[in-house]
């Protein structure tokens, strides 16, 4: 995947300038008038004006409860919401019936985890296609596999699933370079494995896990009939993820989050194979996800409605669709090439500073979107504070990937992460701001 996309041209200075003009927040100044250098897009992306306009237009012209009501506004709101679903489906290369709107990436992963425990309730799998249904049965002795580089959102829900069902959590380790230890895969994935949940791209290291044809992890999961769940929260803003949903990809479900993908907060996406969604019991229940409700018992609508209880975040879905369209108009191949250029530049500048240590693979082509580093002798939060004082916004801490930090034997790190609007000059500013650190903290800089 990576090599094919590298053929595209990175964004030119002029193009980046044009893109930046579309993001109102980037005009901000901080800390006494310093221009903002926003290198925290891995936490959340900024929003182009078209996204804000799409949301506002929805509220000012078409706002109504979707799928409810017989009037013109309700029709328009439903059209806008379902239109957004079509856009998401196109972005994913999937069918609209496979696209579920959630509130964020975390809800999508929890929804999947709860499917396994809820499947154990009496009658929960009645009528479900057995080829999918049996893959949802999870009990004592069964195993759930994650990796040591997961974001907490793709770790804790599975821990809690194991608590609820008596299944055992196992994990694929990470080596010193921050790569998955696939050599020992057969010690982790086995006959009792029911699900393998892993991230596409590490939110700390930027490592791209191989999920393409011939992926060892996907192959191992398939060999034992385990479901493959992919956390695409960090890849969706940077990469064409359509190969993951292709018919023969071996991936069964995938999650991404709106606010990192140029969309508003409050919206995320779960994609799963139609058959899986049909077999999965509902998670949140209530209005709009039902077929027939009696006091004694209810039956449920087909997916995706089955998983969208209550009045949905229609305006946010419409905003997200505008954000995804923005990304695809620029072209994900070019977005990726742009990211690669930023990555090379950043790694070069950091390598010039021997008092800094970069976490993760040294090869820029193995990475997407984020670089985390530590300054020996200075705490990452203190580094981040100096950067903040220079107008450079980064994230510090364990970035919701605490086990990974433990594995790499650092308590925390400082992370710079990129968006479509990030410029090479901003990376230069990062480097200059970093050069203040040794002086302030008395390192041999």
């Amino acid at each position: 995947m990576t090599t094919g996309q590298l053929a595209a041209q990175p964004l030119s200075r002029v193009e980046i300038g044009r893109i930046r003009a579309d993001f109102p927040l980037l005009r901000r100044t901080v800390r006494g008038g310093r221009p903002l250098v926003y290198l925290d897009s891995g936490a959340t992306s900024q929003k182009p004006r078209v996204v804000l306009d799409a949301e506002r237009e929805f509220y000012e012209r078409h706002n109504a409860a979707v799928h409810r009501g017989a009037h013109q506004l309700a029709e328009e709101a439903t059209d806008a919401f379902e239109g957004a679903r079509e856009t998401v489906a196109r972005f994913l290369g999937a069918g609209t019936g496979e696209v579920v709107f959630t509130k964020n990436g975390t809800e999508g992963l929890n929804l999947l985890a709860y499917a396994f425990s809820n499947a154990g309730a009496p009658g929960a799998l009645d009528g479900a296609d057995d080829s999918w249904a049996r893959r949802l049965r999870l009990g004592t002795g069964d195993e759930v596999v994650v990796t040591e580089m997961e974001h907490h959102a793709n770790l804790v829900p599975w821990q809690e699933l194991c608590r609820r069902t008596g299944a055992t959590l196992r994990w694929i380790g990470v080596d010193d370079d921050g790569e998955l230890d696939v050599a020992r895969l057969d010690e982790v994935v086995g006959e009792r494995t029911r699900v393998v949940a892993l991230t596409h791209v590490s939110n700390v290291l930027g490592t791209v896990n191989d999920l393409g044809p011939g992926s060892p992890v996907v192959a191992a999961a398939r060999a034992v009939g385990a479901l493959v769940v992919v956390d695409a929260c960090q890849s969706a803003p940077h990469l064409d993820i359509r190969p993951l949903t292709a018919a023969d990809s071996g991936v069964d479900a995938l999650v991404f989050t709106g606010h990192k993908t140029l969309g508003p907060s409050g919206v995320g996406v779960l994609w799963a194979r139609r058959g899986l969604l049909e077999a999965m019991p509902p998670f949140l229940t209530g209005g709009s996800m039902i077929e027939v409700v009696r006091m004694e018992r209810s039956t449920y609508a087909p997916p995706p409605a089955k998983f969208e209880a209550g009045v949905p975040m229609a305006a946010q879905a419409v905003g997200l669709a505008a954000g995804l369209d923005y990304l695809t108009e620029v072209g994900l191949d070019r977005v990726h090439a742009h990211d690669q250029q930023l990555m090379r530049h950043t790694l070069d500048l950091l390598a010039d500073r021997p008092w800094l240590r970069v976490l993760g693979p040294p090869d820029p082509q193995r990475r997407i979107g984020a670089v985390s580093f530590v300054a020996d002798g200075v705490h990452p939060h203190d580094v981040g504070q100096v950067l903040d004082d220079s107008g450079v916004a980064v994230r510090t801490g364990h970035h919701c990937a605490w086990p990974l930090h433990r594995r790499l034997r650092v308590p925390a790190s400082t992370r710079a992460s990129f968006g479509i609007y990030t410029s090479l000059e901003e990376v230069d500013t990062l480097a200059e701001a970093l050069d203040r650190v040794p002086g302030i903290f008395g390192l041999a800089g």
Binding site: H67, R68, G69, A70, E75, T78, D79, I290, E291, A301
Partner: protein, 162 residues
């Protein structure tokens, strides 16, 4: 209101061939979850013996009990009127044209040659929330056919000339 033409109101008030009748092969019950409306529908098929149509099913009877809005009741009535006694294959053809018209958002006015009285539902296409009403009896009908063993794959083909 362009939605409630005389034909629809007539069918809604006096649904044709209504009531559940014997004999039948299969009975289905379909619900529209947004409004709670229901239809019970029975089909009775017969197989043609000999001739060019040898082995093809014919709709000997379709009977129903529809609880719903004027659009859904009228649609059930028109379904019965247009389909009763005809080869199943022809009724699927009617369905395909009707479906295309209903989901066209008003761009396909429908053709009385192909769908008979069902052209009266052309106005429904402009009200997406009501398309489900008009389709409810037809969805039940397709389900009943399938359960009765008829081949309904033709229903999902695109209609000729569409």
């Amino acid at each position: 209101m362009d939605l409630y033409g005389e034909l629809i109101l007539d069918h809604a008030k006096r649904p044709q061939h209504a009531g559940l009748r014997e004999p039948y092969d299969v009975e289905v019950n379909h619900v529209n979850p947004t409004c709670g409306d229901e239809i019970s529908l029975r089909v009775h098929l017969e197989t043609v013996a000999g001739g060019a149509q040898d082995g093809a099913p014919v709709l000997r009877d379709v009977s129903y009990d529809a609880l719903g809005c004027s659009i859904s009741v009228a649609s059930a009535s028109v379904l019965a009127e247009e389909s009763l006694g005809r080869p199943v294959a022809e009724t699927l053809e009617t369905y395909r044209h009707l479906h295309a018209m209903l989901t066209s958002r008003g761009t396909d006015p429908g053709d009385a040659e192909q769908i008979g009285d069902a052209v009266a539902f052309a106005g429904v296409a402009k009200y997406p929330a009501r398309v489900k009403c008009a389709l409810l009896p037809w969805t039940a009908y397709l389900d009943a056919l399938a359960r009765a063993g008829a081949d309904i794959s033709a229903a999902s083909e695109r209609p000729e000339g569409a």
